[in-house]
């Protein structure tokens, strides 16, 4: 009887637990930085009483689908505190012209099982820096896996910056019949040692995912280090107070406190003065 009650309670608890499981909403992006790396970018969130919140510290399994719907597990990745995860693809995994990835959330204690599928075609993006009549320009060409030009695709040219990229020229440029764009760089921009890194981006294409090509160009204005870290400034720590602020205020403080000490000493002199009256 005792075991029956325990088993019943366990059953109720397990049932209640499965009912309490939340549904995770998964978003997957394929990103290929040409000649560098290709990866799947995962973002997961769930709906709570306070709106959408990130699904953190949860493991997702990544599979690749082959002919006859056979799945081969490539590995797994775990979301960070923002609900994001990155799964880097090897050259072999990324090599097919047409590839399908399946991402699964399985057997999690807090979230119910779910999966997302992504099919991507191979695209090749090349970008170079050219100088024509003393004017620098970025030339980029987009082609499919077979080398055929892809016209009518929106490409964006941007400059890598610390927090967010700086868009060059217009918001986006459409590739011509030969799959290429040419974007002039009219402004001078600062870079460390004059080095700038431009990005040509095919952003979140339904067919090809996100494709990036990087161009390193030594055409920027070298950034001169203006750090005042070792200088004595008004915003430095106490050990680096400007000399004039050490000298003059302390002179004033001494100029006031020496007479104050003199006045305190005078109180003792009055106390110890001989009592002969006038």
């Amino acid at each position: 009887m005792k075991y029956f009650i325990i088993l019943t309670l366990l059953f109720i608890a397990t049932g209640a637990n499965s009912q309490d499981k939340k549904k995770a909403r998964l978003s997957v992006q394929y990103v290929n930085v040409m000649n560098t790396e290709a990866y799947l970018s995962l973002s997961a969130k769930y709906k709570s009483g306070n709106g959408f919140e990130p699904v953190t510290d949860v493991e997702f399994h990544v599979y690749q689908k082959f002919a006859e719907d056979s799945l081969v597990q490539l590995g797994s990745t775990t979301t960070n505190e923002t609900g994001r995860a990155k799964f880097v693809l090897s050259k072999e995994q990324d090599s097919p012209d047409l590839k399908t990835f399946v991402i699964k959330l399985e057997n999690d204690l807090k979230f119910s099982d779910s999966e997302s599928e992504l099919t991507i075609r191979k695209a090749i993006l090349t970008a170079t820096l050219e100088t024509v009549d003393s004017l620098n320009q970025i030339s980029a060409t987009l082609a499919d896996g077979a080398g055929q030009a892809l016209p009518g695709q929106s490409l964006r040219v941007q400059l890598q910056r610390m927090y967010a990229p700086l868009i060059i020229g217009e918001e986006s440029y459409e590739t011509g019949d030969d799959g290429s764009i040419i974007v002039p760089i009219e402004e001078t921009m600062p870079g460390i040692d004059g080095n700038l890194t431009f990005e040509v981006v095919l952003n979140e294409s339904d067919d090809y995912g996100t494709i990036k090509a990087l161009v390193n160009a030594p055409i920027g204005t070298p950034v001169v280090d203006q750090s005042t870290f070792d200088k004595r400034t008004m915003w430095s720590p106490p050990s680096k107070t400007p000399y004039y602020l050490l000298i003059f205020p302390n002179l004033i403080i001494l100029g006031v406190w020496i007479p104050i000490l003199f006045l305190i000493i005078n109180l003792f002199r009055i106390l110890n003065a001989k009592p002969n009256k006038l």
């Binding site: 008004m234 915003w235 430095s236 720590p237 106490p238 107070t241 400007p242 602020l245 050490l246 205020p249 403080i253 006031v256 406190w257 007479p259 104050i260 003199f262 006045l263 305190i264 005078n266 109180l267 002199r269 009055i270 106390l271 110890n272 003065a273 001989k274 009592p275 002969n276 009256k277 006038l278």
Partner: protein
């Protein structure tokens, strides 16, 4: 001669409180206790008990602090400047001014600690303080001024304490505090030299304390504070507030201790004339402070000034300017306006106006930053002190009044020795007989 001297000592020696005095002390203690309760809540819960938030990050604690700093300046005006100028009519008022200065500067120091969210970290200011920071300058100058004010109160008390030692032989304190003062040639020489040094020293320090307080605001780039005029503007305002406070206290003490023979109508008349001059100087600085930004009317300044002239602070602003400066000048220009009772009413209006003027310097500016207020609840856009803030602020004001009350209970309100000398009652034989 002996009888006259006896009468003078009897008149000016400290007296025990009447029932009114005891009731007054009890009333002040009650206000302080309520404030202490609120402050304990603030220590336990933090500054969340106040209405200070992201934008109004300074409230009535700071405006109250600036008010106390202003009032403390009066010690240097009445005592030092008039003493160095060889003016003798002010002798009966010097002690009152010195006592007010000491009470105000003590409470200014306490007021700034109250504004700190974590007073237990106050030592960090000294350990990690940077000489580049105006807050460190303020700490240095306030502590310096406190010590000088105490010395300036104590030194002139020495001859009086010696007299009281004989007049109240049961009190050991007068004997100890008088530092064996006998009026010997050597003592008088040291004493005179020290008083002169103090009179000279206190003036620049008093100017510095209020100028540095002005710099706390001026070094911050905000509408209403971005001014090169702020130092002298604050000093001029301080003279007005402090002198008003002296007149209020001298009226009350004259009435309570029947000092009509020592604090005469003539003193009120002269203080009234000084007040007219000080109010006019302060008005001049006010015109400078408001006219030029109004003329230029940059977007942010215009919005800040509109809130002062026509907006939510308008009635306070005009009450402080008209009721606390313009009307007093007009009334005080007439001899009848400089009689004791009108002087009390006018001075009270001036002190009240001075307190609210500091509020108007601090709060409206913080409510109108250069960058638009965004991403905060509606209630954070406006500052309205909570009852706990009011009770703590009232407690500091009561604390200042309690210090004044206790000091006049145990020390002579009017300097005995100086008054006797001025009245030709300094004969040694007479003095000994009298005591």
């Amino acid at each position: 001669m002996n009888a006259a001297y006896n009468q003078l000592v009897k008149d000016l020696a400290p007296k025990k409180f009447s029932w009114r005095g005891n009731a007054w002390v009890a009333f002040l203690v009650l206000i302080i206790l309520i404030g202490l309760y609120s402050y304990v809540q603030q220590l336990r819960q933090g500054l969340v008990i106040t209405d200070m938030r992201d934008y109004a990050l300074w409230g009535i604690y700071i405006s109250n602090f600036v008010f106390f700093i202003a009032v403390s300046l009066v010690g240097s005006l009445i005592t030092a400047i008039l003493r160095l100028s060889g003016v003798h009519w002010s002798t009966p008022l010097t002690r009152i001014a010195e006592i007010i200065a000491v009470a105000a500067i003590i409470m200014a120091g306490i007021a700034i600690i109250i504004d700190m969210g974590r007073p237990d970290r106050m030592m960090f200011l000294f350990v990690h303080g940077r000489l580049q920071s105006p807050i460190v300058w303020d700490v240095v100058v306030i502590s310096t001024y406190l010590l000088i004010s105490l010395l300036f109160l104590y030194y002139p008390l020495l001859p009086d304490l010696s007299i009281l030692k004989k007049y109240v032989p049961t009190s050991k304190w007068y004997s100890k505090l008088s530092l064996n003062w006998t009026g010997s040639e050597k003592q008088i020489k040291i004493y005179s030299k020290s008083i002169t040094v103090l009179s000279v020293l206190i003036i620049p320090v008093a100017f510095a304390i209020h100028t540095v307080t002005a710099w706390l605001f001026e070094t911050t780039y905000r509408p209403g504070w971005d001014s090169t005029n702020f130092g002298p503007y604050f000093v001029a305002g301080a003279f007005v507030a402090g002198t008003g406070a002296v007149v209020v206290v001298m009226y009350v003490l004259r009435k309570a201790y029947a000092l009509e023979n020592y604090i005469t109508d003539s003193h009120f008349d002269k203080m009234g004339k000084i007040l007219v001059m000080l109010c006019l100087v302060y008005l001049y600085f006010n015109i400078n402070e408001y006219l030029m930004p109004t003329y230029k009317s940059t977007e942010e300044e215009a919005e800040h000034l509109r809130s002062l002239f026509l907006g939510e602070y308008a009635w306070l602003f005009w009450a402080a300017i008209v009721g606390g400066l313009v009307l007093p000048v007009i009334v005080l220009l007439f001899p009848k306006g400089r009689k004791p009772l009108p002087m009390l009413i006018i001075s009270f209006a001036i002190v009240l106006g001075a307190w609210w003027k500091r509020y108007l310097i601090v709060i409206p500016t913080l409510s109108h930053p250069f960058l638009p207020i965004e991403g905060v609840p509606e209630s954070w856009r406006h500052y309205s002190p909570t009852w706990m803030e009011w009770s703590i602020t009232a407690a500091t004001l009561a604390g200042a009044l309690l210090i004044v009350t206790l000091l006049v209970r145990f020390f002579p309100i009017v300097p005995i020795q100086e008054t006797a000398e001025e009245r030709g009652l300094t004969d040694e034989h007479t003095l000994n007989n009298a005591l």
